[in-house]
Amino acid sequence: MTSFDECLPGEIFEEGAVLSVADLAYLFAVEERHIVALAEEGVITALEIDTTQWRFSGADIRRARIALRLERDLGINLPGVALALELLEELEPLRRERRGRP
């Protein structure tokens, strides 16, 4: 139990993060081939495609997280997840815009 006056220094995990397939698989507790499949579908994008060791930036963490949740919770396949993510990203600014209006 942490005492009240102790203040834990938080760091932004995504900032400057460079993650391998194994790192992402570990982070989300899935098999590595699952992360590879996400990359092959274009849901997340490796920083350099040519190398044998794929590396992903912090920005891909959120996309991978949402993609894996949608896949698991809604039972949609990867192409469906990719489409849903793209539509959600289009929808996001529109929803924000509307929320700001009376």
Partner: protein, 324 residues
């Protein structure tokens, strides 16, 4: 403890077929999935639906549940679990919502216990996978999600998070324990990013390091500002003459009131940018002011006369574009 009518939660009849239950679940899951839905309480509803499905999809659990009859009336002894749907900390499966071990209601656990939940068990098993050789013995990482106020990212600063952690008590029952953490929120964190607290996950297995705690951050809507990535937007009302003739007006910004120059000939929707005054991440976001034309009401004779003078001085058909 609250009695839960799982059939009502799923919106199906008590004699619904498996196929009907699955269909109802899929539909509700899409409607309330926290990554998709903008319904209020989406996350809590999603969990409730997930729990109902967990029971009704399994012939055995459904039969056991049905034996309770219609039980006490739903909502009897209503006592919602504290922080239902938010701030839940769990181990293993990173992606989060819905299937965390210990994510079920007291009612569910009283009936089926925690070990009975196949999905939660999966989550734990998955958590143990992929452990890298060098980290043998390292405690598991924990994941949680919190809602932050915008000020936390603008200025940084300490915030208190109350997380619920599943723990096993002396009798082997899984109980949700509250854990209060005082966290220095890093300035400039963006919605969807994660705060990592090193060593705040599960204790090590024998020798080794503790796991880390990952806290996914979302923001509460702000009464004035819309958050778009690292940029902030404000709708600023201006008078028609301020927009037409140009003016210097005051505007709130996250760092205090500023005087803004409205250029002559501005119109509704015109955007003014204050560079670097958005979320102070690196690089910092911008602050956008979107002009809204506010019409003064013709509330007395003087105002009416002014509008009439306006109309006669400036013949203007705002509908020319419509061909009328």
């Amino acid at each position: 403890m609250e009695f839960k009518d799982y059939y009502k939660v799923m919106g199906v009849a008590r004699d619904a077929t498996e196929a009907q239950i699955k269909q109802a679940y899929r539909k509700l899951a899409r409607k309330y999935h926290p990554d998709v839905s903008k319904e209020p309480n989406a996350e809590a509803r999603f969990k409730e639906v997930g729990e109902a499905y967990e029971v009704l999809r399994s012939a055995e659990k459904r039969a056991a549940y049905d034996r309770l009859g219609s039980g006490p009336r739903p909502g009897d002894d209503f006592r919602p679990p504290p922080d239902w749907g938010s701030g839940f900390e769990f181990s293993g499966a990173g992606p989060g919502a819905g299937e965390a071990s210990g994510d079920y209601s007291d009612f569910f656990e009283a009936l089926f216990g925690r070990a009975a939940s196949g999905r939660a068990a999966e989550g734990r098993a998955a958590g143990g996978r992929n452990r890298r050789g060098v980290d043998a013995g390292r405690g598991e990482d924990h994941h949680a999600k919190v809602l932050l106020d915008l000020d936390a990212t603008l200025a940084g600063g300490a915030r208190t998070f109350t997380l619920r952690v599943p723990e096993i008590d002396a009798e082997g029952h899984v109980i949700a324990k509250e854990r209060v953490l005082n966290v220095q929120v890093p300035k400039g964190i963006l919605p969807g990013q994660t705060i990592r607290l090193a060593g705040q996950g599960a204790p090590p297995h024998g020798e080794g390091k503790s796991g880390d705690l990952y806290i996914e951050v979302e923001f509460q809507p702000h009464p004035l500002y819309r958050i778009e990535g690292r940029d902030l937007y404000l709708d600023l009302p201006v008078a028609p003459w301020e927009a037409a003739l140009g003016a210097a007006v005051k505007s709130p910004t996250p760092t205090g009131t500023v005087e803004l120059k409205i250029p002559p000939g501005s119109h509704a929707g015109s955007k003014l940018r204050l560079k670097g005054r958005g979320i102070p991440s690196s690089p910092p976001g911008d602050f956008y002011v979107v002009l809204q034309i506010a019409l003064p009401p013709a509330k007395d004779e003087k105002a009416e006369a002014a509008y009439r003078a306006f109309a006669s001085a400036m013949p203007f058909n705002p509908r020319t574009g419509l061909g009328v």
